[in-house]
């Protein structure tokens, strides 16, 4: 009896000691919601690696006694209900100081109201739904919006790009429509003509019938938005199966079509494809060279870093800055004040800033062409549209 009592008191003493120890050293918890399983697991993998790499390279930058704990949760894919539940658990049970990650816009849109209610600063590493940052004053974005990419790209295509007639073919979901609307506005305002447009069901494995229709319409180019990965690969295959290049129809689109990590899997078909994007791992900026080298040291050559990984990296950079600015006590309002106007001149993608008014990212937009460099395909940036804001928010001022 006494011995058991002894064990219990000992256990209690240890627990108390541990609690005291953890209270003295501030642990800042970041709830990371990403897709770690299912068909889109590669996306979560990219962002998670970007985040982990930042922590590894910059962990010593945190204020004395502050430690960072990532609590990872798997939303399994485009799944708003699951994502919302995970966010709820992270907020109420784990008492996270930040939420980060967020690949899918619908998932992020489901989480945004929670971040407002619970006052949890939330950083989107990828979710690009244009109105996301309007839904909660505690949401900031370090990825991009499709308006930010595609509207100036439309303008470029009609002017410097020299395209007169463009067919639009996008995946039938919100980002596809945003890309189509933004490109169409930019292109038409600059004098271009949209021949026709088609929305392709997201799950469709074969693009041939849709592209055949495009080919019959004889445009100068087809503007495409499809999710990264095998959809993009299948689209490129259909493009070459139909011999559209020989028919004089170019393929243009957003970086999602030729992400750096998928390029090695796509064969030679994407050669010459022109895309608009925020990041290419072939860029020669010193910050990017350092990033790619660190990535190779840590993860080897197997999967190169793509634009999503940089979203993970910059989300951590923003969180680190906010922790430092608040002296290791990340009060949500102070964090958001620190993030407003936050600048990172050393991002692998070049200088970035969080717009203090919209909490959306301001960054360089690059026009790139797929070229062969050293036996590998790479997205080579050939034109920079410096420090571009999200135009949608200017075109659609908030209604009060």
């Amino acid at each position: 009896m006494t011995s058991r009592f002894g064990v219990v008191t000992l256990a209690a003493a240890i627990a108390a000691a541990l609690a005291a120890a953890s209270a003295s050293a501030e642990t800042i918890k970041v709830g990371v919601i990403l897709t770690y399983s299912g068909p889109a697991a590669s996306l979560g993998d990219q962002i998670d690696k970007g985040m982990s790499l930042y922590i590894k390279e910059h962990g010593h930058d945190l204020p004395q006694g502050v430690s960072l704990e990532l609590i990872r949760r798997d939303d399994t894919g485009l799944n708003p209900a699951t994502a919302k539940r995970l966010a709820q658990e992270l907020i109420t049970r784990d008492h996270v100081n930040f939420l980060a990650g967020l690949i899918w816009s619908p998932n992020a849109l489901a989480i945004a109201p929670l971040s407002a209610e619970a006052k949890v600063p939330t950083i989107s590493s990828n979710a690009a739904a244009v109105n996301l940052t309007r839904l909660s004053p505690y949401v900031a974005r370090v990825s991009f919006t499709l308006w930010q990419e595609c509207l100036p790209f439309g303008k470029w295509a009609a002017t410097k790009g020299g395209f007169k007639k463009v067919y639009i073919a996008v995946s039938d979901f919100a980002p596809g429509h945003e890309a189509a609307d933004a490109f169409s506005k930019g292109f038409k305002d600059a004098g271009g003509e949209i021949v026709d447009s088609v929305a392709i069901p997201v799950k469709d494995p074969d693009f041939v019938p849709y592209l055949q229709r495009v080919k019959d319409a004889k445009p100068d180019a087809v503007f495409v938005f499809v999710p990264s990965g095998k959809q993009a690969t299948a689209l490129m295959k259909a493009y070459s199966d139909l011999n559209m290049k020989a028919a004089g129809i170019k393929i243009i689109g957003s970086q999602d079509m030729v992400p750096d990590e998928e390029l090695p899997n796509m064969g030679d078909e994407p050669l010459g494809v022109i895309t608009v994007g925020t990041y290419s791992n072939a860029a020669t900026r010193p910050a990017n060279k350092a990033y790619v080298a660190a990535w190779k040291r840590e993860y080897g050559d197997k999967t190169p870093p793509g634009f999503m990984s940089v979203g993970g990296w910059d989300a951590m950079a923003a969180i680190f800055s906010a922790i430092k600015a608040t002296g290791g006590h990340p009060d949500p309002d102070k964090v958001m004040a620190a993030l407003a106007g936050w600048k990172n001149p050393d991002s692998p993608r070049g200088e970035i800033m969080i717009d203090p008014e919209t909490r959306d990212i301001v960054q360089h937009i690059y026009i790139r062409r797929v070229e062969k460099v050293g036996g590998h395909l790479a997205n080579i940036e050939f034109e920079t549209l410096p420090m571009t804001k999200d135009p949608w928010k200017e075109l659609n001022p908030p209604k009060n």
Binding site: S37, G38, P39, A40, A41, S42, D45, V198, A199, I200, P201, K203, D204, P205, D206, V208, P209, Y210, Q212, R213, D216, G229, K230, T233, A234, K237, S240, D241, L242, N243, E261, E262, P264, N265, M266, G267, K302, T303
Partner: protein, 290 residues
Amino acid sequence: MSAILAAIVSIAFHGLAYAMVLYLISVGLSVTMGLMGFVNLAHGVFAAAGGFVMTRLMNGYGVPFPLAVAAAFLAVGAGSMVLERLLYRRLYGADELSQVLMSVGLIFMSVAAAKFLWGPLAQPMTPPAYLSGQLDLGFRAFPAYRSFLIVAGAVVVTLLWLGLERTRFGARIRAAVDNRRMAQSIGIDTGRLFTWTFALGSALAALGGALGADILAIDPAYALEHLVYFLIVVAVGGLGSIRGPFFAALLLGIADTGFKYLLPEFGAFFIYALTLAILLWRPQGLFGRV
């Protein structure tokens, strides 16, 4: 006018290539379902396995395309025999729910295992140089690889049909599908027959998965993503038939391609409406027995 004609030819051609892939993968499912009454939803796993074996051999070890396809066919056939002995056999007498649960469980295990072994990305498939590019037939050019798919599919269909109609093995399978107890009582070892049929069906799926990797990209979730298409081919074609799935695949492939061309906004849903209509008209499928 000639533009419309060109479009029609293009639709028929691409629909046919797509149909061949669907047929190769689904015919085994139809036979095992009809023969053994086993609801093997995990059939697509064998197709995916075929694709993985082929791409691994080609990309990792530089094995030539025909050898890699043959290896996929044999390896998956042999592997499926082991699975049949260890897993499937235990559930032959079980109710359909147990069979479905077991095979769905297999799908999820295969998805996780494939992701662990090969990573989450789709496997690159580069057809050999002699099958790449365009094949010029004089009046117009066709993509070489898809032309090859159509020819390969036609050869396999012919061989299968001859094998079932003209060989003793085929006669036994037909006998067992028609009336298993009668077949047993005249001395056909249906247990062994099942094993071989299962292996053949799985190996054909592997062949379809490997040859079709250019159209249906090989990635870990393959078996789950395309399951609906395989089931439609089998349901529309009718269980236990070789011809049924062939016509069902043709219908599905060409109609699907055609309607997506004509009505791109709705075309992708048309195939489900067509399936519904056919099954309302003939619940047993086009060539199934009541």
